[in-house]
Symmetry: D2
Subunit: 364 residues, 4 copies
């Protein structure tokens, strides 16, 4: 249970980091969407390990194979199965973990829940699981763009205490991809890269904040009550490995304002559209998109795997120490950007289809 | 769509603030749980309007009627339907809102989505909808307590810039209920109450942060991947009206630490249990409870409804102004506490049943 | 669990036969549908007890109250809660059943599953539960009719060994409602009524077959694989009390033909539509509607409650006998007709919305 | 949508007959189940084409590869992905079908729904899709057997007008597998094989009835209302290709009896168990298993693909004729047996886990 996401555009992922393969089934994709494996691979390449000097050196091409659901370059409307074989696995790096629990990892909790665990890596809790999400997200992005011109842009907003100044309303994918840390502020990016390199030398790790904007989201997407758009976005990104916090619009800082300072007043723009002068709501009011930019932030903790020696216990509870030998990211943020974008795309695409299904029957 | 929450312990709410009634159906409740209407009413009374001088003066007894699913004081295992009639409705207070959009409310987005809206109050976006959640939460709490001794305690951690010092590991319900703002630090509580009263006089509103702890959660609850325990908690509380942010454990502040500072090292306690020396994980690792206290924080924005005049537009887009006449809370925090607790209880109870269903078959 | 039906047009029922009330929540109803309580009541009246001399004399007006989801005669798009209070309950009729198991009823299985049971009637297994289905079905029917002109007509095809000759392609609701047994063949209806009256005198009961046709179902409704239209129809009607069998199109009789006899050959009609010359498929091919009439048949067993003395056991397993005193239908068929229609409507309406959600994005 | 089945033990299939692969993801499988690929392959071999002279000569070894969810011979509790590559595909056999609709196939309805179709075979409507079901069913069967000793035995009960006399309470898998038509009555089997061979020579096809029994099903499995055990069984088997009817227990024949003839009277057996003297209920009362054998029957139509020439139309509606060249089964019944068993196993396993999740909390 728990490996499926979405209600109408429904994604199910599978795979351990060191099993045969990881992948995804997308059920509910609209038929006749034109999309090529290359378009999906572009997103997977943004996520894959070994893409730069500041990511894990694990070598995985993460080449995807589409097993079903496509025909002559178009979606069939049937389940799209996408698979990526695991290649560069070194179970020997993890032998110690077969008995020793890595601090702040899922080793101990998986043992508590299942009584068994694929210890040759992170198993199902590995970030390799997100390959399926990113592949599905590529399809969701294309649907959203074709139907409504939606643009989803994620970027690194903060690494440790380095916070970048970025305008979510104008930032572009090209700016994000212009450097290896995926911070579209060049000056901040440089400082961030240096900090990551320093931390790597210290056999330590750091975290930060990814911000993501979705522009041109049609008014009306989202639902009241439990499936509020911000609730589904929160679930989506809080289900990513290493995430510890979520904000929309004004977020925690908004609690410092009064209502008269915080409310987004309405006006009518030149084109006759009802707009808000400010956007502390973050593009969503009452769980439903209001047409303004949706802006969220996600906190990622410092990578749990570090080269420094730490105190821990083994499966029997005997105390011991551990210094990671496996290859790992000193900072997950650069690779987290496409993951956050994917989850935002999955949520929005699902709500796009749901809105069409329920609400465009008697309502224009 | 979007009015159902949970997979095995499944809750569906209904009702507008000024329709005939609000309520809930709970499907999947274990049979033979002893629970009385009075136990449910206790929680509803913590949520109801008019409970103190710092909440909305709207008079609603919020008396619940159990329509089904109970017999001779015990649950039947069949759907439990609970209904609360709306009483103190004054549609005339809202007549202006039938055409004028309240800033940072859901009026405009509901119109965009549905093309129709019950304007006699907040309709479905009213916080009255949470009555059903709180009633269901009372049942979930009792199951969790009976099966595993789980304790869920929420409290006001911060109002505007007033932050209280509270130890989540020892705080009690009695301490929380000892004052009307539900802040278990007496000194902070006094200051908070004064601030709310001042803001009320200024016809303005304020927000803050609710913290909630769940103690004695069995190791192993939660799922990998999409239904991670923190992801479902995030969705649960971000689906509450006025919430803008969610954190678990170290949250956003955790991004300022290095991995060696942030990781929770393991040790074995005197009783032979594997524990962590710190709890920056917030009781969850890899989406699964590790037996430590689960600690979350939820940001609530200042109440959108204020007496001060604000700029806005009407349904036709013509610009106008609005000063709320309806009765409203100057600060939702005191009443948000039982709502947050309810959502935490719903998530944990659902995962308790799911864990028993899937994982206690061949695993002890 | 198990009290919710449908994926986008989602219905959840609640209530025991002798608890406070029975009812339904409909989540996912399109907004702006005009429908009155009277239109819903019409269907409930076709289902209610005491409607004729051949149904149970239990007196229930089954008057529905709409608690939410409607405003000024139109649906809001939010959950529609509909409730019917139980009135004519005589728990004393059932006192014996508190300890004695009624043969071919659910008393013993509910005890095995739940360890508790509302013995004051059938509890949750009572056919009163179908009130919620019929109310929801009235709304589904109206949506289907407004959007696509769909007509759903059910009728009694067979009572015991009396089978009526009826043309599903032309039969009308008026013909069905022209007599109390709901068999649109007047001659057969008369014989059936006589047979039911005779069986009633003998303190026995009988069953039969309901046939139901859905006309003007848009081509393309339904899904491949698990949610084939016939699979969802089968589940829908096999979830009705007392149903023992389901057929679509040629059904069991179709197994006696060869493929060359059974296949529905295609032709193009005068209007240019692709049609089939025969309809052994029953309007569905590969799980998807082909535009021909959908024709199904449902077998209902003879009512389990009979006045004749039967051997049975009590909760402790001691053998005893039982002769029912409660009021009951000697034949459920006349009242089963609106139930079957309701389930057909729920399935079709759900698939209508699902098809619009997924398949009308890039496909006309 | 529509490619997922089950609530706790949840199966999602993917794949077209002539795409890269077909397969399944099983989410919710209990951890620590010991099962080998060989055990799964045994069931796939019962389903695969080319297994005997009376099945399609298409050559597919249908060798399964387990991609995830297993470790050292045991289930991990994470998604089990199983894939079978398509091998013996001859798209040229289907070229004509790219434009011409095969009568009583899904070609026309897929075009109506999706506007696109993989015409190189049956695409998603091909019976190859059931590979995933059968693989998942093998796992479900093992769980059911290990936990409760459940035995599921399906067999051919009828081919065209040849009906076999078989006792569901004693029939064994070995008897079923003792001949190629899977009819455990040797005399009937011989006649059935001869009939199929004759029909093959006539370039025609025939259908029949599969009966399936599930023994030792624990009392209490199943749910009231929509997810009645018989409703889920009906949906499960009616979602199989070519099925046209479903019966449980007395089925359609039961409508010819009176209640006093039909009811199953209770008694207490020597071991003190409450039993029924007859089993017209087919092992289920009120949607819940009563511990007696569950007995169902499924009608399968004659194979739609036949070598005889038939009238049809092409995509543009122009009338033409078609005589199938593709390899196909003259009678699907022998291969339908493992499919029916698989669906029964999936339903029972899902309800087993659901019952443990909801009902074994306070109830023993």
């Amino acid at each position: 249970m728990g490996n499926t996401f979405g209600h109408l555009f429904r994604v199910t992922t599978f795979g351990e980091s060191h099993g045969g393969a990881v992948g995804v089934i997308i059920d509910g994709c609209p038929p006749l969407l034109e999309i090529s494996p290359e378009e999906i691979q572009v997103e997977l390449d943004r996520r894959r390990p070994g893409q730069s000097k500041i990511t894990t050196p694990r070598k995985e091409s993460d080449t995807c194979e589409i097993l079903s659901g496509m025909f002559e370059g178009k979606t069939l409307g049937t389940p799209i199965a996408i698979m990526v074989r695991n290649q560069d696995t070194r179970p020997q790096d993890y032998e110690e973990m077969s008995v020793t629990y890595r601090p702040s990892h899922a080793d101990a909790t998986y043992d508590a829940k299942y009584g068994i665990r694929n210890w040759q890596g992170g198993g199902r809790s590995s970030a390799r699981e997100t390959i399926g999400r990113v592949a599905a997200g590529a399809i969701a992005k294309k649907i959203l763009h074709q139907v409504a011109g939606v643009e989803i842009v994620g970027y690194v907003k903060q690494i440790k205490d380095l916070e970048a100044n970025i305008d979510p309303h104008t930032v572009t994918l090209a700016q994000v991809e212009s450097n290896i840390v995926r911070c579209p502020n060049a000056e901040s990016a440089e400082a961030m890269i240096k900090l990551i390199e320093q931390v790597t030398r210290e056999k330590d790790s750091i975290g930060g904040v990814v911000e993501c904007v979705a522009r041109n989201v049609p008014k009306g997407l989202g639902s009241p009550v439990f499936d509020k758009l911000e609730a589904d976005l929160a679930k989506g990104v809080m289900s990513l490995p290493a995430s510890k916090g979520f904000e929309i619009g004004s977020g925690f800082a908004g609690t410092l304002l009064t209502g008269s300072q915080h409310n987004d007043e309405f006006y009518t723009d030149a084109a006759g559209n009802i707009r808000t002068t400010t956007n502390r709501s973050g593009g969503i009011q009452g769980g439903i998109a209001n047409g303004e930019d949706i802006v969220i932030r996600v906190a990622f903790k410092p990578t749990a795997t570090i080269g420094k020696e730490q105190k821990t216990v083994n499966r029997e509870g005997a105390e011991t120490t551990l210094a990671a030998k496996g290859r790992h990211d000193p900072c997950v943020l650069p690779r987290a950007v496409p993951m956050v974008e994917a989850m935002v795309a999955l949520v929005l695409c699902d709500h796009l289809l749901r809105d069409r299904g329920q609400c465009r029957v008697f309502t224009p």
